[in-house]
């Protein structure tokens, strides 16, 4: 099996499953892994015990270890190229789409399309678990599009508005 590049939170690691053991960034580790239930693993690394879980949030795989949650991204050459392409495309248009950071209900649209807005300004309000959350823009510019209307339910990750 060839090298796999993983991004675990801010860590970039190269792993390889070799016959003599698991290589992480070129260093061999004595790792004993046991699947406990679906998505639950017990790992012994040189005897040190870890209990971890996998869960998919918003189509991204995450590892849960010591109750902290880390996104895992796997990089292939193709992915790296795709990422570079997306980045260039974004830089070119300079448009940023803001998405719902949580599921909820849009209770108010504060600013309308075509308005000039400044960084930190509230654009709309999403209510979740009885808290009203003003969604602000972290970019100054013109509101190009608002994807939602008042009283509309949104899922986490749904597009809310685009600033250009």
């Amino acid at each position: 099996m060839s090298n796999i590049i993983l991004h675990i939170a801010d860590h970039r690691v190269a792993i390889e499953d070799r016959e003599e053991g698991l290589s992480v960034d070129g260093k061999l580790h004595d790792v004993n892994i046991h699947k406990v239930t679906e998505g639950e693993y017990s790992i012994l690394i040189e005897g040190k015990s870890y209990h971890l879980f996998f869960h998919t949030w918003n189509t991204c795989l995450h590892a849960v270890i010591d109750n902290r949650v880390f996104e895992i991204k796997r990089h292939s050459l193709r992915d790296q190229l795709a990422e570079r392409f997306l980045k260039t495309a974004d830089d070119h248009s300079k448009a940023v789409t803001f998405r719902a950071p949580m599921p909820g209900l849009v209770t108010k649209i504060i600013r309308q399309v075509d308005l000039q807005v400044h960084e930190g300004e509230g654009i709309l309000v999403v209510e979740a678990m009885k808290m009203e959350n003003e969604i602000k823009t972290s970019k100054s510019g013109i509101i190009k599009k608002i994807f939602v209307r008042e009283k509309q339910a949104v899922e986490k990750g749904d597009p809310l508005f685009t600033i250009e």
């Binding site: 993983l6 675990i8 860590h11 690691v13 792993i15 499953d17 698991l22 992480v24 580790h29 790792v31 892994i33 699947k35 239930t37 998505g39 639950e40 693993y41 790992i43 690394i45 040190k48 870890y50 971890l52 879980f53 996998f54 869960h55 949030w57 918003n58 189509t59 991204c60 795989l61 590892a63 270890i65 010591d66 109750n67 902290r68 949650v69 996104e71 895992i72 991204k73 796997r74 992915d79 795709a82 990422e83 997306l86 974004d90 940023v96 789409t97 803001f98 950071p101 949580m102 599921p103 979740a128 678990m129 009885k130 808290m131 009203e132 003003e134 969604i135 602000k136 986490k156 990750g157």
Partner: protein
């Protein structure tokens, strides 16, 4: 004296389970109510009887007085326990329960009205010369009014809901230009949470501790207090970690605050369990904040330290019994800490985290108590409060309690939703918490989860199990880990 034989618990989640436990121990039958998503929730499974409220939102279920009273009648209960939140501090609900010929396990309706409106409570306190935080004694009518008050007491100010607590409808305002917008936000939130959009203004005290006194009052005029709880670790004005005793408490201050709380209860004609909340500044001046006319979320820390079951006391008081204790019989023993386990993204401004719990291993062992309303399979939805459970520990002293809580938090494992556990672990390790000097600004001032690095071994553990996991799911060469476009918005769409 009327012996209560059957109680309807007008609530859900951990508090419904908690109340059911005390009732059952007293030989009292219990009746649960449930919304559609709560059909198989633990409180439904544990109670002797359960009836549907037919609906999803709070408004059409746990807040619907008519539906609840119909069930009470059908189930032939003789009392209703409201828990906390929902209808617990609604005068109208307590009245309706009494009018239906049932016992409301809580204060008299008029007391709830008097203290529940924070403005009339402030008037009462002013009359008895009990120190209150400067601000309005009546709800503000319009922006002009608000501006006048804010200017006279000076920014920053706090906008608070007159009709309820729990941080809902509470907002800090630093400048005049933010006032209008913030009032609107607070009003909307208050209307949704309490069905009451009246708000008032208070001076924002810079570095206070939140310390509250638990009181018990029977129908025979006896009132005692069960010492204090410190609840200064808050995010969004909601408590996350609570403890008893407070690390800054002295015998003298406890007696003084306790006597003040008892005086307030007396002045209000209070009956049953209640909590008087104070802000305590760095010179140990205390200011009355509000009275919560119900059982508090954090009541277990008092129970652990004083060896008293507060819910049982509530039931005994409601059936007309005299308090079994005098003030002199009440003695603290050791130290207790509670951590609220809520479905929130600790690393993302405590945003609510929804999902289905897939794995759930709460802590166990000596000195650990776990009050929970969830289990594997429980779906945490956006409709209700994100609190899943409370983890409480009792130690011989504060040091042991902190050590025990750290151990218990490490042991606690949950998957399917993100929780406040990493935050609570951070608190237990933080110097300001350990030395007891923390204030209600603790989170804002100190909390950076990213400052806790991921150990290299953990990275190895994740990487190696990833291989096995992705192989098992047939995604070894698949797209599971493809670069997601979401990373873009994750860093940009954010929460105020």
């Amino acid at each position: 004296m009327k012996k209560i034989k059957k109680i309807l618990i007008a609530n859900r989640g951990e508090i419904a389970v908690r109340i059911q436990r005390s009732a059952k121990e007293m030989g009292i039958e219990t009746v649960a109510i449930f919304s559609d998503p709560d059909r198989t929730a633990p409180h439904v499974l544990y109670c002797d009887q359960s009836f549907p409220l037919n609906g999803v939102t709070s408004a059409e279920t746990y807040l619907d007085i008519q539906k609840i009273l119909e069930i009470a009648k059908k189930a032939r209960v003789d009392a209703i326990h409201p828990g906390y939140g929902f209808l617990s501090e609604k005068e109208q609900f307590a009245s309706a329960v009494n009018d239906a010929g049932l016992i409301f396990i809580g204060p008299k309706p008029e007391t709830i009205g008097l203290l529940g409106s924070k403005t009339s409570a402030r008037e009462l306190l002013a009359k008895h010369k009990i120190p209150i935080v400067p601000g309005t004694t009546s709800p503000i009518k319009n922006l002009g009014d608000a501006l006048k008050v804010a200017q006279s007491i000076g920014f920053p100010i706090l906008i608070k809901a007159a009709g309820g607590g729990g941080g809902k409808g509470m907002r800090r305002v630093d400048t005049e230009s933010d006032l209008g917008n913030t009032i609107e936000r607070a009003r909307n939130e208050a209307r949704k949470a309490f069905g009451d959009d009246r708000i008032y203004i208070e001076k924002f005290i810079a570095n206070p501790k939140h310390i509250e006194i638990q009181v018990l009052a029977d129908t025979h005029g006896n009132i005692i207090h069960l010492g204090e709880r410190e609840c200064s670790v808050q995010r969004r004005h909601q408590k996350v970690v609570e403890e008893s005793p407070s690390p800054v408490m002295t015998e003298e201050l406890r007696n003084k605050m306790g006597a003040t709380a008892v005086m307030i209860a007396k002045a209000a004609g209070y009956v049953n369990a209640g909590t008087v909340e104070f802000l305590v500044d760095d010179r140990k001046n205390f200011y009355f904040l509000e009275v919560n006319t119900r059982v508090q979320v954090e009541h277990p820390v008092t129970e652990m330290v004083y060896g008293i079951d507060i819910v049982k006391e509530q039931i005994r008081i409601a059936q007309g019994e005299k308090l079994s204790l005098a003030q002199n019989d009440v003695r603290p023993n050791g130290h207790a800490i509670e951590c609220r386990i809520s479905a929130e993204e600790t690393d993302n401004d405590f945003l609510p985290s929804t999902g289905k719990i897939t794995h759930f291993f709460p802590s166990e062992g000596p000195g650990v108590r776990h009050d929970s309303g969830a289990r594997v399979g429980t779906e945490i939805t956006m409709h209700y409060d994100p609190m899943i459970a409370k983890l409480i520990v009792h130690g011989r002293d504060r040091k042991e309690a902190i050590e025990k809580m750290s151990r218990a938090l490490d042991e606690y494992k949950i998957n399917g939703v993100k929780t406040t556990i990493p935050f609570c672990q951070f608190v237990m390790m933080h110097e300001e918490f350990i030395n007891g000097t923390y204030t209600i600004n603790f989170v804002e001032k100190n909390f950076r989860l990213s400052s806790v690095p991921l150990p290299h071994d953990a990275v190895v553990a994740i990487a190696s199990s990833y291989l096995k996991h992705s192989a098992g799911n047939g995604t070894a060469s698949g797209t599971n880990g493809m670069v997601s476009k979401t990373s873009k918005w994750k860093s940009s769409a954010f929460y105020e």
